[in-house]
Symmetry: C2
Subunit: 499 residues, 2 copies
């Protein structure tokens, strides 16, 4: 979930200076239209990791927008007045009226998160509170509010660096408190809890937008542009219930840097190394699959990737290591009549493995947010709600001791071309290349955007994506096998004492 | 929530025989259309109190409908196959395809309910599971499914009677198991837990429909008619996302008997008795309001009722007993500009009382499901979602130790006419009667339907409605005072050991 916010997004000074004036003008225009139409209120939540620049961001927004129509709320300790009413009272008091923008640092998310991190409420109660928040935000959305939720993220090392830097400068050292360092010590727990929180409360109407916090210019530009785009969409929307097209946009990195581009696709294995590694990991996988505790778990492996990235080859290297009775490979193509007569996820549920078995999916339920999104096979509302539904689905598997391993096999556009051309030349490989492959290739950018959104929204602590650099097939296959072994080993360790 | 299902609904044999043939024809017609259009699947859940006739109802449905397009699932213990997959697997396997009807006795609700009743999961985990169910059903609804959830209810005495009757007859005694008697012993816990469940999972798209189970003819006719009506609505709906108008209907009693009609409005108090009682309860209320623990709680009293039912007079009898500094009466009329610029509930949140205070609402947030519904001031989607939002709102108050007391002051149509005419004659009361009152009177039946729906959907264990027979003003006032005192006393007892 935080992958895309740890790749070191930056905006250089020159670009920033070039872009800011136009953005400020756009923002003011949009805000003025909002004030004049007075149709809906805007709630902007600025949350995230300590010292990721929440305060500075709010200051910038107040500078860029017309502060007369902005109310900023930094809600900390409850006042007497508030203590005597239900917890949500303070937020109801602080709501912006239609036409206004309310900016919240510290929101209805703050308390449940902290309580969960410090073990004062367990996951069940945490979920209960988060679900109440979802109800609450649903209500606000249906009442017409535009809710923008920004999560400023810092990796552990980036947070440490920033705390040290702020502390070392006498002018900023006051900003680092003991609480900040205490929270830093709990970074991993914070990360896990906030991931759960973001996953549970990211709805199609009010998704979380995760922004890398390390570089201020990147942060300001991203948030500024997203606020502008969201405002415009909503202002331009038809009257009546808000359609999916007017929901806040999924993030697109303002500097054009996407996680897939950060992969080092040049990684490769020499022939000899490959043979050794393959033997090693296939052997390990075979042993694991015959481990006595393996009958207490099951494995679902998902293979997605660019056309021609070598999904089939990788899958074969996995199955070679397994007893044919213990796995089933399900290639996912167009749905059958029977499948069309059921809810979308039905055709995957039916293939869930029994205990002690592998289910390998050659393409998967992610088709909904990839091909169906890009080709318009389903409505925007449908694929937007799919992220949450997929996370639910995978959570159910994981809770039932299924190891969910998801691979994205990534190749460069050039490498794809090379492979396509080669396939056309080799007779027995010709069936593998169709007109559709060439058509998809034309939509390379659209697909890439969809893939990055997919990773941001569905790579979770419990079911993370593994991005596989696949320009070199050997490297890819070994990485797949190794990852699979690691994840199964982890699960076997966790399961040791059960039953 | 169960009030309307405990008033002894019956259908006599003659009426039943008259109505069934036409209903069966309608049902078959609708089912045939469903099969032919094949656009959506229908899931019918038959749940409820033990021995309320779930099995018999399913048999009747199979008799009335064409069983070739029905799949009945009585899901009990998990099979081996199912145990090895996540809990929802069995239901995914059992889904009806589009054009088909799936009837479920025992559903995704069964396990969480039983676990909560027998204390194997606490309320937080119960809520967590229920919220997952809501997500799940939301997904099904958005995928196009029509979900009809029937809850067959029996009062405690009715259940006992039925268990005894079944047991005494050798032909049916096998139907009563030890589990049934064990569950009966936990009737009150079952009732509380199922109320919580029904409240949490009644959504606009898939509301629970509560049916009194005591009389089989009433039960069959109600369920049959509701299935027919729901099918027709959905079949006739425009293509595309399902609009609120095509959601399953709220219940309307097939025998025309509504809870308001069961009130004995002839109840009255003699002048002398009234004076004594008034003094007694006002004194009690005053004492309670000065109880040392009263500063740990607060009171929200809601007065709704027919026009002319005497809300103002009742409120005055309450405030007479209180220190003017401790209460505020909020008359709810048309919203101000400022209120219109906020979400609907905002104008009530702002008047929530501090600890140790009373907030008295002369009309309230229930306007949404009464006048706004009847007069069409808001869309059907808006008032349908309001039930859930109101329950959320009141739950937040109750969790914060606010006593929520809700009164519906009920008078007969004749009594209203008498009062209206009297008011027109008495000079200083003339301002109390407007053209609007006369217009509302013309919509008496629409209002009454809305009131009954309101009571069914928002009278909860934690914030029940008190129906006040108000043809006699004295009787009404004393009942209001007495109820208020009882509820506050309860709260003070509960709060004794806190802080």
């Amino acid at each position: 979930m935080f992958e895309s916010a740890e790749i070191g997004h930056r905006i250089d000074k020159v670009t920033y200076k070039q872009q800011v004036p136009a953005l400020r003008e756009d923002l003011l225009d949009a805000q003025l239209d909002l004030v004049q139409c007075g149709k809906f209120p805007v709630l902007i939540l600025i949350a995230g990791v300590d010292c990721a620049g929440k305060g500075e961001t709010v200051n910038i927004l107040n500078e860029w927008l017309d502060p007369r129509y902005i109310e900023t709320h930094a809600l900390r300790d409850l006042t007497d007045e508030e203590l005597e009413r239900p917890p949500m009272f303070r937020f109801w008091r602080a709501f912006p009226a239609t036409g206004k923008i309310g900016i919240f640092i510290g929101s209805w998310y703050s308390q449940p998160l902290v309580l969960n991190v410090y073990d004062e409420i367990d996951n069940a109660e945490f979920d209960q509170r988060l679900d109440r928040i979802v109800h609450f935000e649903n209500m606000l959305c249906r009442e017409g509010s535009l809710i923008l939720k920004f999560w400023l993220h810092l990796s552990k090392s980036a947070q440490k660096k920033r705390l040290k830097k702020l502390e070392s400068d006498p002018k900023t050292s006051w900003r680092v408190t003991d609480t900040d360092w205490r929270n830093y010590k709990h970074y991993d727990r914070f990360r896990r809890a906030s991931e759960r929180m973001l996953r549970t409360t990211s709805t199609a109407e009010a998704p979380w937008i995760i922004v890398e916090g390390a570089d201020p210019r990147y942060r300001y530009l991203t948030i500024g542009k997203l606020i502008h785009e969201s405002l415009r969409r909503r202002l331009d929307a038809a009257p009546g219930p808000v359609a999916a097209e007017a929901f806040p946009p999924m993030i697109t990195a303002v500097n054009g840097l996407r996680i897939l581009q950060t992969l080092d696709l040049s990684q490769a294995l020499k022939k000899g190394d490959y043979r050794d590694q393959l033997a090693k990991w296939q052997g390990r996988l075979n042993l694991l699959s015959r481990h006595p505790d393996f009958k207490k778990i099951s494995v679902v492996a998902v293979f997605e990737g660019h056309d021609g990235a070598g999904k089939g080859g990788s899958i074969r290297r996995v199955t070679q290591a397994l007893d044919a009775r213990s796995y089933r490979v399900t290639p996912v193509a167009a749905p059958t009549d029977e499948e069309l007569a059921q809810p979308y996820l039905w055709r995957f549920w039916r293939h869930l493995p029994r205990r002690g078995r592998f289910a390998i999916f050659d393409r998967s339920w992610y088709g909904r947010v990839l091909v169906e999104r890009v080709e318009g096979f389903c409505s925007q509302a449908d694929w937007m709600r799919a992220y949450g539904e997929i996370n639910d689905f995978e959570e159910q598997m994981v809770c039932h001791r299924t190891v969910v391993v998801k691979f994205w096999l990534s190749i460069s556009k050039d490498e794809q071309l090379r492979r396509f051309e080669k396939r056309q030349k080799i007779g027995f490989k010709r069936y593998k290349i169709t007109d559709e492959d060439w058509r998809n290739r034309e939509k390379w950018d659209d697909y890439e955007l969809a893939v990055c959104d997919m990773i941001d929204r569905t790579s979770t602590e419990i079911a993370p994506w593994t991005l596989v650099e696949a320009n070199d097939k050997c490297f890819a296959r070994v990485k797949v096998l190794e990852t699979l072994c690691d994840r199964i080993e982890e699960a076997l360790e966790a399961v040791e004492n059960i039953e």
